[in-house]
Symmetry: C2
Subunit: 319 residues, 2 copies
């Protein structure tokens, strides 16, 4: 049974605890890592022991966040998940905590309510926006480095203030974080203006292999195992790839299908424009997410998987 709590109660709770473990979601992005890093640094700043853990190795591009990873044998008295919508998003290596999460700080409307306490702002575009308010409420000093961590979360989860989830409050907190020392130019260049060679190769692959369906309203890309072996993309590059065709004129739904480690199993990323509910499509195939960005895992051959997702897309577009 999950108890929903507000920002004030969340702040009070964190101030009372020590030896805090902060959990990120698997395949971590800028928001889960930036928010976790900000919380860990802020807790350290008020004399508490705080560590971060993630199922995956932290991608090198996030090294600057200086995340204090948990060490073997650390004493843990309180477990907080950040930007983790559901238990299954923790990843296998964190499953030991599945039923031991004291507090979840999240912005996903689809949150699975798995934690003892939940601080949720489903109308916030990034967990980092909520974390900023929690840290302010706690009276923590937002150092320039913590501002960088939080700005990272907001930048990456809003596509640099582009997505429709951006609100006036997002801009106001963005302004405040810049005033506190967040390095706007450096972070924007890092995440939006320096495409790696692999990302360029992936984009080229996408341009040459994109399939169109339903009067070109649906763009679908199958990233084959061969292409992955050839390009060896970073997981972060794949996130960008799935949303790219959504920006093509006339495209309402963009789908990326990629093989999972187990043969005959695929991960689907669904990105939609204003008129289509990505989460509804993903949910029909056992997944979930946000209204504009969702995902699911489907077992089968590439042909049956394509057929399954295109059937759901057709159902949605012909409603």
């Amino acid at each position: 049974m999950t108890t929903k709590i507000d920002i004030q109660s969340t702040a009070r709770m964190l101030l009372e605890k020590d030896n805090i473990l902060i959990l990120c979601h698997k395949n971590p992005d800028g928001d889960t890592l930036g928010s976790a890093a900000a919380l860990a640094h802020a807790l350290a700043g008020i004399g508490k022991k705080a560590y971060v853990s993630c199922h995956n190795r932290i991608p090198a591009k996030y090294d600057y966040l200086n995340i204090p990873l948990v060490e073997e044998g650390a004493e843990i008295d309180f477990v907080v998940s950040v930007d983790v919508a559901g238990i299954n998003l923790l990843g296998d290596s964190l499953m030991e905590y599945a039923h031991k999460i004291n507090l979840c700080i999240d912005h996903h409307g689809s949150n699975g309510e798995y934690a003892e306490y939940l601080c949720l702002k489903a109308d916030y575009p990034a967990a980092a926006q909520l974390m900023y308010e929690v840290l302010c409420e706690m009276g923590c000093e937002i150092t320039p480095h913590i501002a960088d961590c939080l700005y990272t979360g907001i930048l990456t989860d809003t596509g640099c203030f582009k997505y429709s989830s951006t609100t006036p409050l997002t801009h106001i907190i963005g302004a405040r974080l810049m005033e506190l020392g967040a390095q706007h130019t450096l972070l924007v260049e890092k995440f939006f203006m320096s495409k790696t060679r692999k990302a360029v190769q992936l984009e080229r692959y996408m341009m040459n292999n994109l399939e169109y369906y339903f009067d070109d309203r649906c763009a679908l890309l199958v990233l084959t195992r061969e292409a992955i072996l050839d390009i060896q993309p970073d997981p972060t590059d794949l996130d960008g790839l799935s949303s790219m065709p959504r920006d093509f004129e006339g495209v309402d739904i963009s789908i990326l299908i990629r093989p999972l480690r187990e043969e005959g199993s695929y991960k689907l990323s669904i990105r939609t424009g204003e008129t289509v509910d990505a989460c509804a499509i993903a949910s029909a195939l056992g997944g979930g997410g946000h209204i504009r960005a969702a995902g699911c895992e489907v077992i089968g051959s590439i042909e049956t998987v394509k057929k399954a997702i295109l059937r759901e897309v057709e159902n949605t577009l012909c409603q």
Copy 2:
């Protein structure tokens, strides 16, 4: 002799005048048009006659700004230029006003000081940010439509809050305009999330034909006459294309070579990162421009033109 005035004096001056003509720069963009539209609508809102003029026909994508264009024989008592850095940027058809501009509202540090009075904020990323402050100072009501006009200027001149010119104040005014009714999602989709089919085809061509030189620090694309006939791109698409490879990791110089109408004659667009002077390279071949974006026209075969530009690039990189 130009007199520099502050926002308060600018507001007072505008409140005293009537029959106001607002001039945009040629090849108009979202900032000059959005700022001019906002001023015209705000002046109309307080009972004044105000019209806009531009050398070029206003591109259809800006129709929603509802710009009140000046009509033949309109009485004009006061002329304001908006976002126009120099007289030569008015365009031939507005040259009659060259020495009759009473007030210039601008954000270009390079402003030519051609107007009687100049209200300049060189540290603002967009003229629209300044126009917002002028309209507030005038006590004009910022209607939802005026907010859309101003948000358009800020969005397009900051690349959606991406460029390094973005400051905390930009975010704060962005928030205020959203609160006043600016349609963030609609405008962002219009300008940043709707690549035309032709733009996508061009990008695909670029991805498949880009050549790399000098340890991949220089990316060069030859857009052939055949490709142009095949894709029939809009001129605005070509501007975007030339700067795209500059955002590839490691690329300091991006060059686009395209044929001019006359056989054996080529237009070169040069875009550079922080460390390379594009204008110096273009100047060596008889062209010119800005430090990060310049161009020139070269006569010869495609082989000799490539050789000529690569020689200049080599000179610059090996300095």
